[in-house]
């Protein structure tokens, strides 16, 4: 019995050695270990799935071109399923047993914030792909993020309303984390644009009919436009209800629904809806002198060729996170965490898919509200308004 066990053990060992020898490329240099925890399954999989695909694809690409500072990249990734507890466990594993040089993740604000105390203590840079402002404000030394914050989305929408001479709006938001945070940011900055939020309604993320809330907004005197902050299918249903009720006021959505899927779900009801979105949604409509045009077109083409599915804004966040990491490691000339962190903070004019990043010690996001493009739906297509 003992000998049998031992032989099994030997066989397993042999297989392991064989696998390792196949995986480790011929390059003798020590790989740079990049850890990632994303929500590839579960309710936030629409974020994590394209993010992981993007990371895998570009790590392969970079390694095929000889790696970074002469060293290959090694991606170690875990799927937290959108669960903050799991995210914390995986971040811990990445830091302690996988000994990564840098972390990319998480996909949601919840999973990111669960890992923040760990990376702060361990002193390893982390680049998050989640939206909320709390991740980078107040600034934490080791935490960076690539998407614009929800405050910027609110500012972009409110600025457009202001330019149309709108002074009173109705707000309708989801009760999930994204919607709640968006609602708070909108309420906080509305006054800066001379806009009053006259009606403030909410809906559950799983609700199937929002006509009651919209009827209330419509019947509130002084409302000149409606702004829906939410993601998932909720905003699509709100949009359908909006058209169904025949409300004629200008209608705004948030960047939470900036994908072609929204057009499929909302159908003809989406006509005239305006929203702030990544340039990735309209790569061909960008003017030729736009610095992002090339980056965005290349990413879209590469992703769609490799995975045979439409590109998503969220994958773009992962692209930017990886490219920022690569740029910082190249600038630092080493993968030593402190040097990489300092280099990340110094990044200026880095053109990504999401926008142009100008990091600084008090801004670990580095994007301006203008990185959002204002789009309008016309004839079932996104049209660049501003």
């Amino acid at each position: 019995m003992v000998t049998k066990n031992r032989s099994v053990y030997r066989a397993v060992l042999l297989i392991l050695v064989l696998i390792c020898s196949m995986v480790v490329p011929v390059m003798a240099a020590e790989p740079i270990r990049i850890g990632a925890f994303v929500s590839a399954t579960g309710p936030a999989s629409f974020l994590g799935d394209p993010e992981l695909k993007t990371l895998e694809m570009y790590v392969e690409k970079i390694n095929a071109q000889g790696g970074v500072i002469g060293r290959p990249l090694r991606l170690i990734h875990y799927d937290d399923g959108g669960n903050a507890n799991e995210a914390r466990n995986f971040a811990n594993r990445l830091l302690r047993s996988d000994r990564v040089d840098l972390i990319i993740g998480g996909s949601t604000t919840g999973t990111t914030m669960a890992a923040v105390p760990l990376v702060e203590r361990a002193g390893r840079p982390m680049i998050s792909m989640a939206g909320a402002l709390v991740i980078t404000e107040p600034v934490r030394p080791w935490v960076f993020k690539t998407p614009q914050s929800d405050r910027m989305a609110a500012e972009r929408v409110l600025a457009d309303m202001q330019s149309r001479g709108i002074t009173g709006i109705g707000l309708i938001s989801g009760t999930d984390g994204f919607g709640r945070s968006g609602r708070e940011q909108t309420l906080a900055v509305a006054a800066d644009f001379g806009i009053q939020v006259l009606a403030d309604q909410t809906y559950g993320p799983q609700d199937t009919d929002m006509t009651a809330q919209l009827t209330r907004i419509r019947n509130t005197p002084g409302v000149e436009a409606v702004f829906n902050f939410g993601f998932g299918q909720g905003p699509a249903i709100v949009t359908r209800n909006y058209a169904h009720l025949g409300i004629e006021l200008p209608f705004y959505q948030s960047h939470g629904v900036a994908s072609d899927r929204f057009l499929d779900l909302a159908g003809s009801a989406a006509e005239g809806v305006r929203l702030p979105a990544s340039a990735l949604l309209v790569p061909d409509a960008l003017p030729d002198d736009d610095p992002q045009k090339q980056v965005v077109q290349d990413y879209k083409a590469a992703y769609e060729a490799r995975w045979n599915m439409p590109v998503s804004t969220f994958g773009g966040y992962a692209y930017d996170a990886l490219m920022l990491a690569v740029a910082a490691i190249e600038a630092a000339g080493t993968s030593e965490p402190k040097a990489v962190r300092d280099a990340l903070e110094q990044i200026q004019g880095h053109v990504g898919v999401t926008g142009t990043f100008n990091m600084s010690p008090d801004d670990h996001n580095g994007l301006a509200p203008e990185s959002f493009r204002l789009l309008e739906v016309r004839d079932g297509q996104w049209v660049l308004v501003d």
């Binding site: 309604q201 199937t208 009919d209 009651a212 299918q233 169904h244």
Partner: protein, 291 residues
């Protein structure tokens, strides 16, 4: 003012009609076995998702509906044969837990086959909404209400007028005695699961144009449908419809007149109050509990 009230009412009826359709599915299996089939929501999802994907393949709507319903019927039989029948000696609680397991399995399968995105289905009528005295209503809600009405009628006739329906009721009341009377109780149970699956799939198809559909739509709709069935009285077709409409209208009225933040709270308060005073629901059978 009246138009506003009417709008809330219509909104409530739209939501309520979807809940009612789901609640109907629970009555069949419950009537046959006192098992609450928590996989009912999944049949709903399968009906909607299968129809959407068949439509995308270019199958005309009536045929797509028929095929989706047939698929659900096969799965209903399979659920009984593979999961419920092997545990026939188990008590009701065990069977309920089995249905929960089945629902998780079906949801996972759907996620692999159809992906995780939401899908839209066109409404059955060309005009999407009608205007009644200043308020608008989805034509699809009318479809849902009409089909729910027809199904209630058919179910009532089935349970009171046909031998098979009476056999199902007999099995639920006393399986041992029913078997002695020559009723093949396992066959009756299989039939109940098949019909419940068909009913669920029908509901899923009817409501998909309103709610959109995705692999996990069955969780929320299944739960709300169960609540509606409990309010109306488990096992009663009329109760399911009344319970669903009551729940939907309560939600819409709260969202409209009080605050959208409280609409779920009011719905649950409604359940507590009704079940406190009428533990068997509004239309539940008034039978004395055997101790």
């Amino acid at each position: 003012m009246f138009a506003e009230f009417l709008q809330y009412l219509f909104s409530g009826v739209t939501i309520g009609a979807t809940y009612a359709m789901v609640a109907l599915g629970f009555t069949l299996v419950y009537n046959a076995s006192h098992v609450i089939n928590f996989a009912q929501g999944e049949f709903l999802m399968i009906g909607g998702m299968a129809t959407v994907s068949l439509l995308a393949m270019g199958v005309p709507l009536p045929l797509a509906i028929a095929m989706a319903v047939a698929l659900a019927a096969v799965l209903g039989v399979a659920l009984h044969k593979l999961a419920i029948a092997p545990a026939r000696k188990a008590d009701v609680i065990t069977l309920i837990i089995i249905t929960i397991g089945a629902s998780i399995f079906l949801r996972g399968l759907a996620q692999i086959i159809w992906g995780k995105e939401f899908h839209a289905m066109p409404s059955f009528s060309a005009t999407e909404s009608v205007n009644v005295m200043g308020a608008v209503m989805y034509t699809q809600s009318l479809w849902v209400l009409a089909v729910a009405g027809v199904l209630v009628l058919l179910l009532a006739l089935f349970f009171t007028r046909t031998l098979m329906g009476k056999a199902i009721l007999a099995t639920s009341m006393n399986p041992g005695a029913a078997r002695l009377m020559g009723i093949r109780t396992q066959f009756v149970l299989m039939l109940a699961f098949m019909l419940a699956a068909v009913l669920g799939a029908m509901a899923g198809i009817m409501v998909a144009p309103i709610t959109l559909t995705a692999y996990d739509i069955g969780i929320m709709l299944g739960l709300k449908g169960f609540v509606a069935a409990a309010i109306g009285g488990m096992g009663s077709g009329v109760g399911a419809v009344v319970g669903g409409l009551l729940l939907g209208i309560a939600e819409a009225m709260t969202a409209g007149y009080i605050s959208s933040d409280y609409k779920d709270a009011v719905a649950f308060l409604l359940i507590l109050v009704i079940l406190f005073f009428m533990p068997r629901g509004l239309f539940g059978a008034r039978v004395a509990e055997r101790v």
